[in-house]
């Protein structure tokens, strides 16, 4: 055994020694640049064919394997594979694998569909979010506008309330001041009342004196009125004697015509008419002027007098004259002229 080990060690030792010697020589030598460097670790030339053979062998083996695989010449199961008794288990496993693969594929499809739904829902969610955001912005803007409007209205109400309050305060102050003044006036009135009572007593005394004097004046006035009335009665009597004393008939016509001319009744009528503001009185004066003119134009012996009397009665002139006189609205000259004309017309009526 030891011998065989030593024999086996010897060649190796020899080889090592030879390698060591060659290595030492190689290291000791200066390499020749012209000589190509040897491949370090390269197998010796006598072993190259072995490498070539091995390479060829592997090439042939590979080509055969490829052809076998390509043509399906390989047996159903590789070498060292399980025996056919294990095919059912393998088939089950394969079926399970296939089922699992299909499940995986279905799961992937479901996952893909779920992902698509998730993406769709995400888009919808984003759209809803955007819509809600817009709605929110709109509502926000509306709320802000409403808030501004209400704030403005509130400010306005506050301003109005302030104004009303100031007005009310001012009025209250004015009323207070007025009450104060009224209180002062009341106090003053209270003070003046006593003075006024004294003055009233003095005035009453003076009034009594004036009343006593007034009685005297009234008596004098009554006396003067009585004198005026007597004078008027005398004047009326004189006028009646002038206008009414004539005997009825045509004989009186000349006297009345003379009276119209002598008293210038037509001319006075024209002058007075210009001074009368009342339209009714002016129309009455116009009518009377016509009648007086008609009276002047009459000639004795005709039927004019009867016609004139009829006209006087138809127009109701004496009544109209009385109304104007009794109202007392016209000037005294107008009333005097009307009275004179009325007497004349009465005389004419009597004569007719």
């Amino acid at each position: 055994m030891n011998e065989e080990n030593e024999q086996a060690r010897d060649p190796a030792e020899g080889l090592l020694r030879r390698w060591g010697a060659e290595e030492a020589a190689r290291r000791a030598e200066v390499p020749d640049p012209t000589v190509p460097m040897r491949w370090i670790g390269r197998p010796p030339a006598r072993w190259r064919w072995l490498l070539h053979a091995a390479a060829l062998l592997f090439f042939i083996l590979g080509a055969s394997l490829f052809v076998a695989v390509a043509t399906g010449w390989l047996p159903d199961r590789p070498f060292g594979a399980p025996s056919p008794s294990d095919d059912s288990a393998v088939s089950g496993l394969r079926a399970e694998l296939k089922q699992a693969t299909e499940d995986v594929r279905a799961s992937r499809s479901a996952l893909e569909a779920a992902r698509r739904r998730v993406e769709e829902q995400n888009r919808e969610f984003q759209a809803e979010v955007a819509r809600l955001r817009r709605t929110f912005e709109t509502e926000k803007a509306d709320l802000a506008a409403e808030a501004e409007r209400r704030a403005a209205a509130l400010n306005k109400l506050v301003g109005q309330e302030q104004s009303l309050r100031e007005t009310a305060v001012g009025q209250l102050k004015q009323r207070d001041a007025r009450l104060a003044r009224l209180g002062q006036d009341l106090a003053q009135a209270g003070r003046s009342l006593a003075e006024l009572r004294g003055q009233v007593a003095a005035q009453a005394a003076r009034l009594q004196e004036a009343e006593d004097g007034l009685v005297t004046v009234r008596r004098d006035a009554e006396k003067r009125i009585s004198a005026i009335q007597a004078q008027q009665a005398a004047m009326r009597t004189s006028l009646e004697q002038t206008y009414l004393a004539a005997t009825p008939g045509e004989d009186a016509l000349g006297m009345y015509q003379s009276a119209v001319r002598r008293r210038r009744l037509i001319v006075r009528c024209q002058h007075l008419r210009a001074q009368v503001p009342n339209e009714a009185t002016r129309r009455l004066l116009d009518t009377l002027e016509v009648l007086l003119t008609r009276l002047e134009l009459m000639q004795a012996g005709g039927g004019d007098l009867t016609s004139l009397v009829r006209l006087i009665r138809t127009l109701g002139l004496t009544r109209q004259i009385n109304e104007v006189i009794l109202t007392g609205e016209e000037e005294p000259d107008v009333r005097a002229w009307l009275m004179e004309t009325q007497l004349l017309l009465k005389g004419v009526e009597r004569a007719g």
Partner: protein, 132 residues
């Protein structure tokens, strides 16, 4: 201008007055007068009543043909009176020129009548008022 026209009118009237008077005398002597009919007299009284009622325009329209009728009948007094009332109506209507011409016509044409005397008085007052 108006005063000058009045002067010319007076001159013309003065110049024609003798001729008119002669014609009037001739008319009075040669005309065949007839009595006024009762209807005309009643119409005259009615027209004067219209004047008294101050219906001047209606009265003037009634009086103008009556004046011609009285003139034709030879009743100069009534004719003068009718023309006088026509002028009176014009005066009351404010148509003073027409009124003055009417009064003047009565004065010139119907001398010696009561209406002419009245017309002269009113014409004088009218001219006095207009001159003022």
């Amino acid at each position: 201008m108006r005063a000058r026209a009045v002067n010319w009118l007076l001159i013309a009237v003065t110049a024609t007055a003798p001729g008119c008077a002669a014609y009037d005398q001739y008319y009075m002597e040669t005309s065949t007068a007839r009595a006024a009919r009762p209807g005309e007299e009643a119409a005259f009284q009615k027209a004067v009543a219209l004047v008294a009622e101050l219906h001047y325009e209606e009265a003037a329209e009634e009086l103008l043909p009556l004046a011609a009728a009285f003139e034709e009948a030879g009743d100069r007094s009534r004719a003068a009176e009718a023309l006088f009332w026509v002028a009176f109506c014009r005066e009351k209507q404010g148509r003073t020129d027409e009124a003055a011409a009417g009064y003047d016509r009565v004065v010139r044409r119907y001398l010696q009548t009561v209406a002419a005397r009245q017309a002269a008085a009113r014409l004088s007052r009218l001219r006095g008022d207009s001159s003022h």
